[in-house]
């Protein structure tokens, strides 16, 4: 099938303050192919894409583009304050006779278009009011509608639900049939093998392999990415979770009747020490809200949170002091402090503990930072590096470290492995396991069903901001969860 190349890259090098993100990379994309771009966190995938699209100028090398490129970037890159329709059509709005933007037509076309992506939100409301996954779909629709010869997708499914992933893959398929070339970046192996023709593996900024994907066994692909031998990797399964944990008897966290209309409505969750409770549900089912409600970041209409039987005042500071920690879903706006160094980001929440009379001990800081950089294998040139310069996955580890060094009793993890490569993902999962074993109460929110099924001891399924069911033990199967979640899909079908 490969015909003439639409993108040709030869010997491209790109260096950021001290980090060689791309090192003499060759890369060719042919017309009509779906090309997987894989590699560990920080391997240089996003950087390569930004070089391709002209956002970054390479330090050296040659790039030949042979057509229009349209891109969905890793972090949703839309304008939250503008309306959904405005975002969708920014730069190519329908005009009326005298050349002014025809807003009515724009909104109508936007609503029409989004319906084919399964989104029924009000297109005239600000984009920021949509759930993250919906925003991702809007970005997808925008990129696909741009009439491009090449569509680049940088981890498009990382915030999508199974149902939406299907929609997305259908779209990819249609694009493929229309002869459009696609670069597809993902850490999810299943997807890659389902849709991609060819693969390029980056490691430490170098292209270590390019070739057809189907002929490459999964295990070998992983070994190429990690630079470790196949044997070494074979020890692990799909996830790195071990056996079920043996939880204590008395719950350490009891959340009762959490209500913040209209997003959540009377959610009850209890977690015992040493237990991992998963929250399952569709996009917008209120999982993030539940976590935020527990940590006190969401104004509540009703509800109480008890830690070890004592009510916690409704603010983040009090919750943190009571031992609750939350790893936020959106690390860019709710997690990292971009200007600060890795060290300062890690110790931030633990500062009061590391200081006397408000004066911080640098030695204690360095010790803690050192420990966590090693334990979580955070890839940094030095702890003084700015956290904004790290790859997404490494930023996520920094945030995990921030919470772990406060020595919490309850850890709320909202999509902790989103955008993390296979290696790091296994590490994080193993870590969650280990933490639970050490007696921590963990709440795990994940859009990956496998992760929930393997990782959680018990699953709370949310639907429309209310608990739709709890699954435990033998009920923890794909079918049961889907059935619990799917009720909504049925309802939807009925009402149509």
């Amino acid at each position: 099938m490969p015909t003439d190349p639409v993108i040709e890259v030869a010997g491209v090098t790109k260096t950021f303050a001290g980090v060689r993100a791309l090192d003499d990379v060759d890369f060719t994309l042919h017309r009509g192919e779906i090309h997987a771009l894989v590699g560990e966190n920080g391997a240089g995938k996003s950087t390569l894409i930004k070089v391709l699209t002209g956002i970054h100028t390479p330090d050296g090398g040659r790039i030949r583009r042979n057509g229009r490129i349209s891109t969905i970037y890793q972090e949703v890159n839309l304008v939250p304050l503008m309306s959904v329709a405005a975002n969708l059509f920014l730069g190519r709005e329908p005009r009326n006779r005298i050349g002014l933007i025809d807003r009515a037509r724009r909104d109508a076309e936007a609503a029409e278009l989004l319906k084919s992506y399964g989104i029924t939100a009000d297109v005239s409301s600000p984009l920021g009011t949509l759930a993250v996954g919906e925003q991702q779909m809007v970005a997808l629709a925008r990129a696909v509608e741009a009439d491009a010869d090449v569509v680049i997708m940088d981890e498009p499914t990382s915030s999508l639900e199974p149902r939406e992933v299907e929609t997305l893959l259908e779209v990819v398929h249609k694009l493929h049939e229309a002869g459009i070339a696609i670069i597809y970046v993902s850490h999810r192996m299943d997807e890659l093998y389902r849709i991609c023709d060819t693969v390029t593996v980056l490691r430490d900024g170098k292209n270590v392999h390019s070739g057809p994907l189907k002929e490459l066994p999964r295990i070998e692909l992983v070994s190429l990415m990690l630079g470790r031998s196949v044997n070494e990797i074979q020890k692990h399964g799909t996830t790195a979770f071990g056996e079920d944990h043996h939880a204590d008897t008395r719950p350490v966290l009891e959340a009762r009747n959490l209500t913040s209309r209209p997003r959540i409505n009377g959610v009850d969750v209890t977690i015992r020490p040493g237990e991992v409770v998963g929250l399952a549900g569709l996009l917008g089912s209120g999982r993030t809200e539940t976590a935020k409600a527990i940590i006190g970041a969401l104004p509540l209409d009703d509800g109480t949170v008890l830690v070890a039987g004592t009510p916690v005042p409704r603010n983040v500071k009090a919750a943190t002091r009571a031992g609750i920690s939350m790893l936020a879903e959106d690390r860019k706006t709710e997690g990292i402090i971009p200007n600060l160094s890795v060290r300062e980001n890690i110790v931030l929440a633990a500062l009061p503990r590391l200081s006397r009379f408000g004066v911080i001990s640098r030695k204690k800081q360095d010790r803690i930072v050192d420990t966590f950089v090693k334990r979580l294998r955070i890839k940094v040139s030095s702890p003084e590096q700015k956290v904004a310069e790290l790859s997404g996955g490494n930023q996520q580890k920094v945030l995990l470290a921030r919470w772990l060094c406060t020595e919490p009793r309850i850890l709320l993890l909202d999509e902790p492995t989103r955008g993390i490569d296979v290696g790091a993902k296994a590490e994080v999962q193993a870590l969650i396991d280990e933490l639970a074993r050490e007696g921590l109460a963990v709440m795990l929110i994940s859009s990956e069903l496998d992760e929930l099924l393997d990782g959680a001891d018990r699953l709370v399924v949310l639907r429309d901001g209310a608990v739709a069911g709890e699954l435990e033990g033998a009920q923890l199967t794909r079918e049961h969860v889907l059935a619990a979640i799917a009720a909504e899909v049925m309802d939807d079908a009925d009402s149509h």
């Binding site: 970041a297 500071k317 939350m326 402090i337 971009p338 200007n339 500062l351 004066v359 911080i360 921030r402």
Partner: protein, 310 residues
């Protein structure tokens, strides 16, 4: 990393020191009677109140805010001094500082609790504060005669004028506060990403109110020192346009207006640079028109060098 990149980075971090050095060199060569102890003392004494205000401003800017009311707070402090000077300098100064604290805390309350954007929140006090000062003082300039109070502005310790000493000590304190304390690091985190800081459980509101309160107190201290030096309480003119001088000095010193970073030594150097620029322009007797245009050019040049690269 290439050599030019290293050099650019170095210049970006140290541009303000280079500029101060260059200006000193220029003056040493071309300005009569510049290299005298008396002259340096004069420059430092004149810079001291600006520096004190700029230190507070640097903290506020570090939280991604700005305080336009500092000049008005200086005027308030000035207006309060004569009311209590009868009871002695200490109560008078304390009352002035309390006023600064109250004004700052009020700003902080508006920003942190009510959620008003800093420029607008402090604009209200910029507009109303000086009026209030004039109301308190009945619109009058009051000459002051209390020798102990006036000594603040005229005396020195081991040859260092008291106001310069105070400014220096405050600079050290603020440097320690930002770099070495929990409060300082929380402040920078709040400025770097307020939502993340909130979700991390930092006492965001307390930090914000604290920062504006500190800024208010520092402005009041500057008002007290300037009043003592002038030997008169002059609420109509005290600290006029001080907010712009202070912001300029802070930014020229390399603290970005986008928050998340505070450079205390840079701020000191920014103040010194702007003071030297003013002194140079006056000493060379340039007309006001040229002087203003040169100041504009120097501000742009200094900030250009220190700007954050994309």
């Amino acid at each position: 990393m290439t050599l030019t990149a290293t050099r650019t980075r170095w210049l970006q971090d140290n541009g303000v020191y280079v500029a101060v050095g260059a200006l000193l060199l220029f003056n040493a060569l071309f300005t009569a009677n510049f290299m005298t102890l008396g002259n340096f003392t004069t420059q430092l004494v004149q810079a001291a109140p600006v520096l004190i205000v700029a230190l507070g401003m640097a903290l506020v800017i570090g939280t991604e805010g700005v305080d336009l009311s500092v000049g008005a707070v200086m005027a308030l402090a000035a207006a309060i001094i004569p009311l209590y000077l009868g009871a002695g300098p200490v109560p008078a100064i304390l009352m002035a500082l309390v006023a600064g604290l109250a004004a700052g805390a009020f700003n902080g309350f508006l920003v942190a609790r009510v959620g008003i954007q800093p420029i607008v929140a402090t604009l209200a006090l910029l507009v109303g504060g000086r009026g209030l000062a004039l109301v308190i003082a009945n619109g009058q300039l009051v000459p002051l005669h209390d020798p102990a109070f006036l000594a603040l502005g005229t005396d020195d310790v081991l040859g260092i004028p008291i106001s310069v000493l105070i400014a220096g000590l405050l600079a050290l304190t603020i440097a320690g506060l930002t770099n070495r304390t929990t409060f300082g690091r929380q402040l920078v985190a709040v400025g770097g990403n307020r939502r993340a800081a909130t979700l991390t459980g930092l006492p965001v509101n307390r930090v914000l109110v604290g920062v504006y309160a500190i800024c208010g107190v520092l402005a009041a201290i500057a008002g007290v020192l300037a009043t003592s030096r002038l030997a008169a309480s002059d609420p109509a003119d005290m600290g006029l346009l001080m907010e712009l001088s202070a912001i300029t000095a802070v930014v020229v010193g390399g603290t970005p207006l986008t928050g998340g970073k505070v450079r205390v030594l840079g701020t000191v150097m920014g103040v010194v640079l702007m003071q030297l620029v003013r002194a140079t322009l006056i000493k060379h007797n340039l007309p006001d028109s040229i002087a203003q245009m040169i100041q504009a050019a120097i501000i742009v040049a200094a900030v250009y060098v220190a700007r954050e690269r994309r």
